[in-house]
């Protein structure tokens, strides 16, 4: 397989300590490129202006500016295929489950989380992204070939009819 750029993950949590924990863990176990924000609003701004590609997004649920589900819904508009993971505390578990049904979450992770679980969920999410991207490419290729074929067909028809 061709060498791929490290996957880009966006992480949003208003608690610096959570960001720091996840960042440290992923730094020693993976090559993921992690973009972290304590403000979902700032993250959305950068998503519009700065961030060039995105493979997965993780967001806390309870944040002062904007809740995680609204944030993920915004991200979905720009990157519909990117898996969305919600990080939840206890009190909002019910909401998280509702969101999985309403907004279409890939997964939710409950705090306190297990690092191995977190890594597995991220890895599976990324695999899904890669597969979807490959599928998109293939579809494009097929469409291209199909278009070429129909062009040839038209040409043939034009010549013979």
């Amino acid at each position: 397989m061709a060498k791929r750029e490290p996957p880009v993950i966006l992480l949003v949590d208003d608690e610096e300590m959570i960001i720091s924990s996840i960042k440290s863990f992923l730094a020693i176990e993976t090559d993921y490129q992690l973009l972290t924000y304590t403000s979902p609003v700032k993250a959305l701004e950068d998503l519009e202006a700065k961030i060039k590609s995105l493979d997965l997004v993780i967001s806390d649920y309870l944040m002062p500016e904007m809740d995680g589900i609204s944030f993920l819904a915004q991200v979905k508009k720009k990157y519909p295929l990117v898996p969305r993971i919600l990080l939840t505390g206890y009190a909002d578990k019910e909401n998280a489950i509702k969101a999985i049904n309403n907004v279409g979450l890939y997964q939710y992770i409950e705090k306190p989380w297990d690092n191995d679980d977190l890594r597995l969920i991220i890895r599976n999410g990324l695999e899904k992204t890669i597969l979807l991207k490959q599928l998109e490419e293939k579809v494009r290729e097929v469409e291209k070939v199909h278009k070429e074929l129909s062009d040839v067909q038209k040409e043939i028809l034009r010549v013979f009819v």
Binding site: S21, I22, S24, I28, G89, Y90, A91, K111
Partner: protein
């Protein structure tokens, strides 16, 4: 307008019959001279024949009556007879050597009040716990994850050092020692955070505020989380023996039943002076499950055994028991259409709860 064509005696008789207050007239020896209709109803509820009234007035209550006569105050008492308990407000008056007792039955009001207080307490406890659990989970999540990251890092450092050839034996040993210490510390922290996580988990499980309806639940899970909550009362003093049978899910209010388990476990722990054992047994009986909680404590004196489910009855003294614990347990089990029985002797006490598996919407009789 009162009819005036009656004799004063007939009038007072008529009044006494329609009075919604139980009234008894006793001679100085305690013999019943007269009682009105409300009083007959009250005695019927207690399954006492009018003739037996003076005999069944318990000794302590007789002195209460005397005191009421002396002080002319309104008194309150719990009257337990034939397994029924009444909360009465009464006043005594003396007229020409005979004593008149007036009693109002406030049992229903008292029970409703106790229930309301308890459910408000549980609701605010639930909210508090939910908030607390949420607040604890964020830093706990960070700690738990960080510790794991440190452990992984130590492992990686150890691997690098193993491949490193340019180290003296002394340095290698010293580094190895440090790595070992770090590893131990990490393991210890992992245990500590896991303990915290399980306590928070039990708290959440215990104070499930969200469930107002009957649902199928695993009683063993409820017992386990309750045990975690009361752990500090047991400490090393009391051994808990679990004889869990193979029981199915039971349709119940899980958090209400947890309240019952907690009450019984705390009582059992308090009944044991010094060291002892609490045995929790569960078993299935055709269409019900049976949960017993036994202690090796001092037992309940026979004269108290009929009163233990009464609201307000306590032997624990001010500040220890509210006296509401067992009466609420009784009420909760009644709501589940189950029953709670007690057996007590010198070697300890056993409470047995029997719960039907399915909760038929049976109309309560009585």
């Amino acid at each position: 307008m009162l009819q005036t064509d009656r004799s004063p005696d007939a009038l007072s008789l008529e009044l006494s019959e329609i009075l919604p207050i139980a009234m008894v007239k006793l001679d100085p020896k305690g013999k019943v001279l007269f009682m009105n209709r409300t009083c007959h109803e009250l005695l019927a509820a207690m399954q006492i024949t009018p003739e037996a009234l003076s005999h069944v007035l318990p000794h302590s209550h007789r002195s209460l009556v005397r005191q009421a006569l002396r002080e002319k105050r309104v008194e309150e008492m719990n009257w337990v007879q034939n397994g029924r308990s009444l909360h009465l407000v009464f006043k005594a008056s003396e007229v020409g050597g005979a004593a008149y007792l007036f009693m109002i039955d406030l049992t229903a009001q008292e029970e409703a009040k106790a229930q309301l207080m308890q459910s408000e307490k549980m609701a605010s406890l639930g909210l508090l716990v939910a908030g607390l659990a949420h607040e604890i989970n964020t830093p706990l999540g960070a700690l738990h994850s960080n510790n794991d990251t440190i452990a992984r890092s130590i492992e990686k450092i150890r691997q690098i050092l193993e491949g490193e050839r340019n180290l003296t034996t002394a340095d290698r040993n010293r580094v190895q020692q440090l790595v070992d210490i770090l590893r131990d510390v990490c393991q210890n922290t992992a245990l500590a955070t896991e303990r915290l996580m399980s306590v928070v988990g039990s708290l959440k499980n215990f104070a499930r505020v969200d469930e107002a309806e009957f649902k199928k639940a695993d009683l063993h899970e409820g017992i386990e989380s309750t045990l975690t909550i009361v752990q500090h009362q047991l400490k090393d003093r009391i051994r808990v023996e679990k004889q869990y049978g193979n029981i199915p899910l039971v349709e119940c209010h899980p958090n209400r039943l947890n309240q019952v388990f907690m009450n019984l476990l705390v009582n059992a722990a308090q009944a044991i002076r010094g060291e002892g054992t609490i045995t929790i047994t569960t078993a299935r009986k055709s269409d019900s499950v049976r949960i017993s909680i036994s202690d090796t404590g001092m037992g309940i004196p026979p004269e108290n055994i009929s009163k233990i489910f009464d609201p307000g009855f306590t032997t624990k003294g001010v500040g220890v028991g509210t006296g509401l614990g067992l009466s609420i347990c009784y009420k909760i089990i009644e709501e589940h259409q189950g029953k709670i029985d007690v057996e007590s002797g010198d070697h300890g006490t056993t409470f047995t709860i029997t719960l039907p598996l399915g909760h038929g919407k049976k109309v309560k009789s009585g």
